[in-house]
C-alpha cells in the first residue's frame, strides 16, 4: 500500500542508524495515531447511528457536561503524548550528536549546494594526504560515521538521502552539520528538498556506500589529475573545451587550464553513474543529448541560460563538435 521499500527514495528502506531511528519513531507514533483514530471514529459513527433522529423523538436530556469525563480525556491524551515525547527527544539528541567527529578520526564531507548541483569536498583522517573535491556523486565507506557540513552558494537547499537519514536544510551564511551512516553497500538516491528555484525538481544526486578498500581506491582516483587523452577526436574535444567553446569558464578539470568553480567539477565525470545532478544515466547518448540541448532536459539550468554556445546563435555547437566533446568527456574517468 503505502510502504514500498523497493522505491528508491522510500523512507521505509532504511540503510543506516539515523533513518532507522526515524522510522522506528514513525511506526511508534503511527500505532498510537491509528489507535486513536479507530476509537474516535468508531465512537463517532456509533453515536451518529444510534442516536439518529426518529420522528417520534422528544427533546433529548439537555446534558451540559461532565467534569470527570473532561479530566479523563485531557489526561489520557497527555499520557499518550508523554510516550511520544520521550523517544522523540532521545532520538533528536542521538541524531544530532555525531558518534565520531572529524576530530575523533571520522570522515568529513563538506557539501556545497548551488543552483542546481552539488559539490562534495572530502577530509578523510584515514587518507590525510588526499585532496578530493567532486560533484554530484558522493561515495562513502560503509559501516562508518560520515560527518556532513552543509553550505550553500546561493539560496536555501536541503540535503536528503531518504534511505540513509532525514533531511537537513542548507542555509546560506550558516554551516549546518549532521552525521550519516550506511550499514549496507549499494546505491542510494538523494534529492534537494527545499524549494530553490526553477530546476529544484531536477536537483538530485547519488550516494554510493562502498567497502573501505573500494572507497580508498575511489578517493585516490578522485584526487588524481585528469589524464591527457590519446585518441584524436578526444584531443579535439579537449581543445574545444579549453578554447573557443569556453567550457573552462565554468567547469574544472584538474591538471588542465580549466579551473573554474562556477559549474560542477568534471575531472572524473566519466566515472559517475549520472549526469546533470542525478537526473540522467551517464551514457554516450545522454551526454550527447545534454550537450545538444540542455534546456530541454533540465529547464532553467544555468549552462543552457548562460553559456555562449547556447545563448549565441553564431556560437552554437555543431554535430562534429559535440562528438569531439563527448569523446573528450568520456576519457575523464
Amino acid at each position: 500500500m503505502g510502504c514500498t521499500p523497493d522505491h528508491p527514495q522510500s523512507t521505509f528502506n532504511v540503510a543506516g542508524p539515523v533513518a532507522e531511528s526515524q522510522l522506528t519513531l514513525f511506526y511508534w507514533i503511527l500505532a498510537a495515531a491509528v489507535f486513536v483514530f479507530v476509537i474516535v471514529t468508531a465512537i463517532l459513527f456509533w453515536a451518529v447511528f444510534r442516536y439518529r433522529r426518529k420522528v417520534s423523538d422528544k427533546d433529548p436530556e439537555q446534558i451540559h457536561g461532565n467534569t470527570k469525563l473532561e479530566i479523563a480525556w485531557t489526561i489520557l491524551p497527555a499520557i499518550i503524548l508523554v510516550f511520544v515525547a520521550i523517544p522523540t527527544v532521545i532520538t533528536i539528541f542521538d541524531n544530532a550528536n555525531s558518534p565520531c567527529t572529524y576530530e575523533e578520526g571520522c570522515l568529513e564531507v563538506t557539501v556545497e549546494a548551488a543552483q542546481w548541483f552539488w559539490n562534495f569536498t572530502y577530509k578523510d583522517p584515514s587518507n590525510p594526504d588526499l585532496e578530493v573535491m567532486t560533484s554530484n556523486e558522493m561515495r562513502i565507506p560503509v559501516d562508518e560515521v560520515v560527518n556532513i557540513r552543509l553550505t550553500s552558494r546561493d539560496v536555501l537547499h536541503s540535503f536528503w538521502i531518504p534511505n540513509i537519514a532525514g533531511k537537513l536544510d542548507i542555509v546560506p551564511n550558516h554551516v549546518n552539520t549532521m552525521w550519516i551512516q550506511s550499514n549496507i553497500e549499494g546505491e542510494f538516491y538523494a534529492q534537494c528538498a527545499e524549494f530553490c528555484g526553477i530546476a529544484h525538481a531536477l536537483m538530485s544526486f547519488r550516494v554510493y556506500a562502498d567497502s573501505r578498500d573500494e572507497f580508498n581506491e575511489w578517493m585516490k582516483l578522485q584526487a588524481t589529475e585528469a589524464s591527457i587523452p590519446a585518441e584524436p577526436l578526444a584531443l579535439e574535444g579537449k581543445k574545444l573545451f579549453e578554447g573557443e567553446k569556453q567550457c573552462y569558464a565554468c567547469h574544472k578539470v584538474m591538471g588542465t587550464k580549466a579551473r573554474s568553480n562556477v559549474g560542477p567539477d568534471l575531472t572524473h565525470v566519466a566515472s559517475r553513474t549520472q549526469l546533470a545532478a542525478g537526473i540522467l544515466d551517464n551514457t554516450q547518448d545522454n551526454l550527447r543529448k545534454w550537450l545538444e540541448d540542455p534546456e530541454s532536459i533540465k529547464p532553467g539550468n544555468k549552462m543552457a541560460r548562460q553559456a555562449t554556445v547556447y545563448t549565441d546563435e553564431t556560437k552554437k555547437l555543431n554535430d562534429p563538435e559535440i562528438s569531439a566533446l563527448v569523446a573528450y568527456l568520456q576519457t575523464l574517468k
Partner: protein, 618 residues
Amino acid sequence: MVSIPFPVVRPLKPVGIWGWLTTIDHKKIGVLYGTTAFILFLTGGVEALLIRLQLAIPNNTLIAPEVYNQLFTMHGTTMIFLAIMPLGAAFFNFVIPLQIGARDVAFPRLNAFSFWTFLAGAIILKMSWVLGGAPNAGWFGYAPITGKIFNLGHGIDFWIVGLQVLGVASLAAAFNFIVTIVNMRAPGLTLMRMPIFTWMTLITSILLVLAFPVITVALIELMFDRTFGTVFFVTSGGGDPLLWQHLFWVFGHPEVYILILPAMGIISEIIPTFSRKPIFGYNVVVLSGVIIGFLGWMVWSHHMFTVGLGPIANSIFAITTMLIAIPTGVKIFNWIATLWKGSIDLKSPMLYSIGFIVLFVIGGLSGTMHSSAASDAQQQDTYFIVAHIHYVLFGGSLFAIFAGIHYWFPKVTGRLMNELSGRISFLLLFVGMNITFFPMHFLGLDGMPRRTYTYSSEMGWDLWNLVATLGVFFIIAAVLLFLHNVTRSWRKGEKADSDPWDGRTLEWSIPSPVPEYNFVEIPIVKSRDDFWEKKRSGDTAEIELNLREPTGDIHLPQPSYWPAFASLGMLIGGFGLVYLLDSMLGLLAAVVGGMIIMISIYAWSFEPVNDPDVSGHH
C-alpha cells in the same frame, strides 16, 4: 450635526450598485465577502487543478517549471488569504451581530472599508498573473530566493504589496469584531453565555491583531531589501535567511489557528443544533479555544525543524507542539459527547460537520507525527506535509465553511438550499477529498518532495499521483453541484421561516431574511442558548415581538462613500508601490493613492449624519 468643508453629501437610501458600494450594513458586507471569496476560491481551485494535471504523469510537459512555481505560490496564497480567511470574515460579518443581539458592528464604515480593502488586495495579487508574472517563491516566500538577485521581476513585489493591503483589511476587521463582541452584547449576554462561534471569533480576532504586525514587519523588510537596497535577508550583506523564517512563522503559526478556530466555532453551533442538545462542556470548549490561541504562539519553529536550530530548540518546540494537541483533542471529544444521546438530524450542515470531525482528526494525527522533530526530518518538505495541510484546511476549514453556508443560508436569503443536492455534494466532496489527499501520505513517505514540477518514473510515484489527480474531478463535481444549489436556491429555493432548524441562538429568533434593523427590540438574555430556553419554556413574548414589524423608528448607521473610496486609494497606492522605482507613474500612483486615503479618512471622520426623518424610517 457637524458640518464639513466638503460639498459631498452622505448617500440617501442608495440602491443598486451604489447601494452595494456604500453599504455599511454588516449583512450586506457579509454577502459581499462571501461571494467574492467564493469566486477567489474557485480561482485557487483552478490553480490546483493545473498543478494536479501537470503531476498526473511523470515527466509531463503540460506546465513549464516557471509557471508551475507561480501556480503553487498563488494556489497557497489564494486559498489562505483570499478564500478561507475572507469566507470566515463573511460569517463573522453576517452572524456575530445577530448572535449577540446587536444591530450592527461597532464600526460599520470600518467594516465596509475592510471588505473593499480586501478586494483591493485580491486584485493586486491576482493581477500579477497578467502583469509580468505571479509571485513564484511559495506562499511562505522564503528568503533569499525572494530577493532581487534571484527574483528580478515584479511577482514578489505584487505578493508583498498584496499581502500588506490584505493585512490592513484583516486588522481593521479584527479590531472591529473585538470591540463589537466586548461592547455591544445584548443585556444579559455575559461572556460565558455567548455562542461558541462568537467566542471563537473573538479569539481569532485577538490572534489577528497580534500576528499580522509580525508579517507586516517582515514584508516591509523584504520590500526595503528589494526596493531600497537594505540587506535584512541579503546574504552577501550578512543577512540571515532564518530571520525571515522566524518572522514568517511567528505570524504563520497563529495564522493557521486563525484559519481553523472560526471553523471550529461553526461546527460548535451546528452539532448542538442538529442534535437538539447543548454543546457538551461549554466552559471547556471555550477554555480550549483560549488555550489553543495562547499556545499557538509557542510552536512556530516546528515549521523549521530541519533548518538546523539544534536539538534543544527542536526538543522544546516538539513538546509544545504535542501540548497543543491536547486542547484540540478535547474539543473533538466534546463534539462527540454533544452528539451522544442527542436526537441527530443528518441534514447537510450536520453531514459536513461529521465529515469535518473525521477529516480533521486525520489531519490532527498526521500533525502529531510531524510534531516529533526526529521523524519529521523525513516528512518535512514532502507530500506527507501536503497531505496534512489539506486534511486540516480542506477537510477542516473548508468543510466547516460548506457546513456554515448550508446552515445560515436560510437566514441570509429566506430560502432553504436543496437537501438532496446538498447531500450528494457532501458525498462527492468527502470521497474526492480523500482520493486526492490520502495518497499524498504515501507519496511523502515514499520520498516525493514538495514544490517539484515533475518527477521521473523510476521513483515509483506514478500510481498515487495519477490517483490524486483523479480525485480532483470528484471535488470539481461537488463544487459545481454546490454552486448550482446555492444559485438556484437563492432565487427559487423553498421558503424558510425564521427558525428552520429549531435553533438555539439569537439569530434564529428573527425573520429570514433578516430585516435591515435585525431586532425590533434588542432581546434581554436570561441564559446561554437563550432562544432555545425561551422557546421551550413558553417565554415567547419577546420572540413574537421580533417577528413582527417595528412600531417606531429604529436608528441605524448610514451608508457612506468613504470606505470604498479609501480602499480605492489602497488599490492605486498599492500598484504604485509595486512600480515605485520603475517610472514616475509608479511614484505618482503611490502618492495619489496615499492622498486618496488621507482625504477619505478626513472626510469619513467629519461626514455629516442625515436627519432621521430625511433618511427614511431607519
